[in-house]
């Protein structure tokens, strides 16, 4: 009898194995600017990159200290806000942005478009991510009833009971507190709007408008190499020449490789150096990421690769995510 068991019969569709993506040790997002900031002169861009540069250096050193043999694979990236403001011109914005970044000693390896987090290469990344949502059950949830969900919203606990209608009619005006699940002593309750369904109006068809935190959650999933479409990698970087920009963002790939032979775009760990104004968005991103069921095959594959490379990897996705908040450049509109 043979000691090696080989199956006598197998079928191609019975066991899909996800395809791997190349992984760096660390991916660093080197700042973020609203479109208004990008179109309002050089100073604001320059101030932010100047403040980002030393932290990027610090992250490089910190990552290198974790890698015992050889050079740490680190790549940098920058996300453009074209989902909410597609009306600007890349051929104006990009040369200026890259020049100032270079002046400040920051090389941007990869450029990504926020609209690409909605859809990249005709793959609906935001819809795929929506399908991964796992709402948190209230205490006493047996599975008998479907979870009471407000479409498009996600919270990290139990909302204040609805006091409108019958209750209020009887004069009950007592406030009941919301509660964070798994809290430490006190609650920090967060209710995030993930999308809004816009009904058809004036010739424009009904559509779903994704929120900034939801697209940012998709962004982190792509950076962590955790998203697949039917086992295939999504939003893979495509080389793009830095001296040739079209007039609209739509003409650009979702993720572009701008530098020569950079480390891979996706990484075991990701860090974002952002102005402090993004604190609440990143909190929301963390809540969304903590409420997703990931593709188990991808999770296992990544964990195995980390072990092979001697990389220690936390089991939970959000534990692989670092935020550094820097002082924000004051907004034009001050009130």
């Amino acid at each position: 009898m043979s000691t090696i068991e080989t199956p006598v019969y197998s079928e191609a569709t019975s066991r899909p194995a996800p395809r791997k993506v190349a992984l760096s040790h660390l991916s660093v997002e080197v700042g973020h600017l609203y479109m208004e900031d990008l179109t309002n002169g050089e100073d604001r861009i320059r101030t932010q990159f100047r403040r980002v540069a030393p932290w990027l250096q610090a992250l490089r050193s910190a990552q290198q200290a974790e890698v015992t043999d050889g050079k740490a694979r680190i790549s940098t990236c920058f996300l453009i806000d074209d989902y909410f403001r597609p009306d600007t011109d890349p051929s104006v914005i990009m040369p200026q942005l890259l020049r100032i970044a270079a002046d400040c000693g920051i090389e941007i390896d990869y450029l990504a478009r926020e609209a690409g987090c909605h859809e990249a290469d005709r793959v609906q990344l935001a819809e795929i991510t929506r399908g991964m949502l796992l709402h948190e059950p209230p205490v006493g949830a047996t599975g008998s009833r479907p979870a009471a969900q407000k479409s498009g919203w996600l919270c990290n606990g139990e909302r204040t009971p609805d006091s409108s209608g019958g209750q209020a009619m009887r004069g009950s005006t007592l406030w009941q507190q919301p509660e964070e699940f798994g809290k430490r002593n006190h609650s920090i309750f967060l209710d995030v709007e993930m999308w809004k369904d816009i009904p058809a109006k004036g010739g424009e068809p009904a559509h779903r408008k994704w929120s900034c935190p939801f697209l940012a959650a998709v962004w982190q999933l792509i950076r962590l190499g955790a998203l697949r479409n039917n086992g295939e990698p999504v939003a893979q970087p495509r080389p793009w020449p830095t001296d040739s920009w079209p007039r609209t963002w739509r003409e650009l790939p979702a993720v572009m490789q701008l530098s020569d032979r950079p480390s891979p775009f996706s990484a075991y760990r990701v860090a974002s150096i952002l102005p402090k104004t993004y604190l609440k968005i990143e909190h929301a991103v963390n809540v969304i990421l903590d409420h997703l069921t990931l593709d188990e095959a991808v999770v296992t594959q990544t964990a195995e690769r980390a072990v092979e490379e001697g990389v220690e990897l936390p089991a939970q996705l959000t534990d692989r995510l670092t935020n550094i908040f820097i002082e924000a450049v004051p907004t034009v509109r001050r009130w």
Binding site: T13, P16, G131, P138, A141, G143, L289, L294
Partner: protein, 308 residues
């Protein structure tokens, strides 16, 4: 190590068996995640898993305090393009920590429920095998039922059925015991409810899920063919034509009978046990023969009538 589960089985609301590609389309319930399918010896299509969070007491006998926090995993299955199943399951893991942890801890462990409190494994197993579910305790049946409703309501189905059938429920427990010889006990609770206990070595615990789904399928086929015969007998007793139901039973159900075909080879001995007591394939074959005889004799009689 313990897994508990509940399978609901029903006739798919379709007039003709769905081809493999249509079944895959029907069960594409999660964007970006592949449907799994095998085409031999008979088509069996599995939806991607859906996950449901729970935080509640577990059924127990005698009733004992417990708290289970975690997730239930559910999948829909279509066999032979004709039978729909929804299968929910959760592995139970005992823990000393009674408070709820941050959700990311549970969302990273789909299909695991952490159990705290004085309740023992045996009490939960006994509670789960009770004929009626204890109120306010874990309800895998409702989760499965919602999944089957969701599939049956999909626009891919024409909502016509050639046979009147009843859905069945199978509530099962699988216990992993070192060096255990695989064993199964099937109990028919009433017309639609069955309970099953499986004991296997720990490394085969995951495979027990597929076995219980296969057992639920064949129990449903057996039960349904029994209904077809009972209906035919009632028709014949009141001189009505039983042929429509008999023909539908023959053409839709008989080809689906393949106990163990999609079960891990190591667990096929469980089927051998059930074939011995209470017997599955032999009485099934006798039912099929009876139906064929009826159809044959009635066809013959019809031909003879034509000649006169």
């Amino acid at each position: 190590m313990v897994i508990i589960g509940e399978v609901r089985t029903s006739l798919l609301h379709t007039s003709l068996p769905l081809p493999g590609a249509a079944a895959a389309d029907l069960l594409a319930l999660r964007p970006g995640t592949q449907v799994r399918a095998t085409s031999r010896p008979i088509n069996r299509t599995l939806s991607p898993d859906t996950v449901t969070g729970v935080d509640c007491s577990l059924p127990s006998e005698p009733r004992t305090r417990s708290r289970g926090i975690g997730t239930v995993v559910t999948r829909a299955i279509v066999v032979g393009g004709m039978v729909a199943q929804a299968s929910s399951r959760a592995e139970l893991e005992w823990t000393d920590y009674r408070e709820r942890k941050p959700w990311k801890y549970y969302s990273r462990r789909p299909g695991v429920i952490e159990v705290s409190g004085p309740v023992t494994t045996d009490q939960v197993l006994a509670g789960f095998q009770m004929p009626s579910r204890q109120p306010e305790t874990l309800d895998l049946g409702s989760i499965s039922q919602r999944m089957i409703n969701h599939v049956q309501d999909r626009p891919q189905l024409d909502n016509l059925t050639a046979l009147r059938t009843r859905p069945t429920s199978m509530r099962w427990t699988a216990v992993g015991v070192e060096d255990a010889v695989p064993a199964v006990r099937l109990h028919i609770e009433d017309a639609t409810m069955r309970t099953v206990r499986v004991t296997v070595p720990p490394h085969l615990l995951e495979e027990a899920v597929g076995f219980c789904e296969d057992l639920a399928l064949h129990d449903w086929l057996y039960t349904t063919l029994g209904h077809v015969i009972a209906q035919a007998e009632r028709d014949m007793a009141r001189d009505a034509d039983p042929m429509k139901g008999l023909r539908a039973g023959l053409s839709l159900l008989v080809r689906l009978w393949m106990p163990g075909a999609h079960v891990s080879p190591e667990l096929r001995p469980l089927w051998q046990g059930l074939e011995a007591v209470p017997g599955f394939s032999e009485p099934w074959q006798r039912q099929v023969d009876w139906i064929r005889d009826q159809v044959f004799m009635r066809s013959l009689a019809a031909v003879e009538e034509l000649h006169h």
